[in-house]
Symmetry: C2
Subunit: 167 residues, 2 copies
């Protein structure tokens, strides 16, 4: 097994999008059991000035699509941020999983050597692709997935770390 840009992106994103979907399935079941309205968990936050669950899922999927699009030069699909139920958020994860599944090892081959043009505080900045993915994109994706997990955990959804890792 050799290390490639593919290895640190596509299988990781696929696994953790699926894990997050399984967490939302548990949230749906728990919300039904506790008779919580569909929109409540979706708009729950850990602090009043922090983003809600819907944003965490939107951000996870957006960062994943932008990462793969930037590495390959493809145009990312546009997804409206209009989810109001856990089912809507699961549909968003499904769209992201379908997009991720369109990338093969060959599509990502050579992207290790690329420089990406990214906006850093409004300025176009050249960043090595590896640096962007390892130090920024992947950490932020896990930041939003863990935030989604933490919001649900804080609201009493019965999930544990094994639901996060999926193993």
């Amino acid at each position: 097994m050799s290390l490639s840009m593919y290895a640190i992106t596509v299988p990781v994103f696929t696994r953790y999008l699926n894990n997050l979907d399984a967490i939302l399935v548990k949230a749906e079941a728990n919300a039904a059991e506790r008779k919580i309205k569909p929109e409540v968990l979706v708009s729950s936050r850990l602090a009043p000035d922090m983003h809600p669950l819907s944003f965490q899922v939107q951000s996870t999927t957006d960062r994943i699509k932008f990462t793969l699009a930037r590495l390959t030069g493809r145009t990312p699909p546009s997804w409206e941020d209009n989810e109001t139920s856990l089912a809507d958020l699961r549909a968003r994860l499904k769209k992201a999983l379908e997009f991720v599944a369109t990338f093969s090892e060959a599509d990502l081959a050579g992207s290790e050597a690329k420089m990406l043009t990214l906006k850093v505080r409004g300025e176009d900045t050249q960043v090595p692709a590896i640096e962007h993915v390892t130090l920024n994109a992947v950490p932020q994706i896990f930041f939003h997935i863990t935030s989604a997990y933490a919001i649900l955990r804080h609201n009493g959804v019965p999930i544990g770390k094994r639901d996060f890792t999926g193993g």
Copy 2:
């Protein structure tokens, strides 16, 4: 820039341990300002049956040390889980940073091809090193760092995502 086991571990761990330290510095200042006792934030949780801040920092540092030790065959240092203040947790991060700094590119070279023997539900299991690092170790490290961030954010410490990414 080529992709190596070093690139996806040492610089990532160094950056995010430093970012977590800077977050704890802000927590210390905020606790002093609000006259919060040193032990309160350290033992704060997002749910009564979830681990406190101290555990999140201990787990972050332990997973980092075990990951690098496993990849290189080194014996990881042993750290007692006895932190009771934010200063103690910062000292723990410092020990982890010092340990990470002892690993060079050469130390990690070739570890991409290794198989690691890991306990999976009590059973010794052979796992490719790349798979372990990308799908398990790194995600869990970010899980614990984000959980530490979320506990402090939930408790009113004035931090934002830029403190998490450090940029």
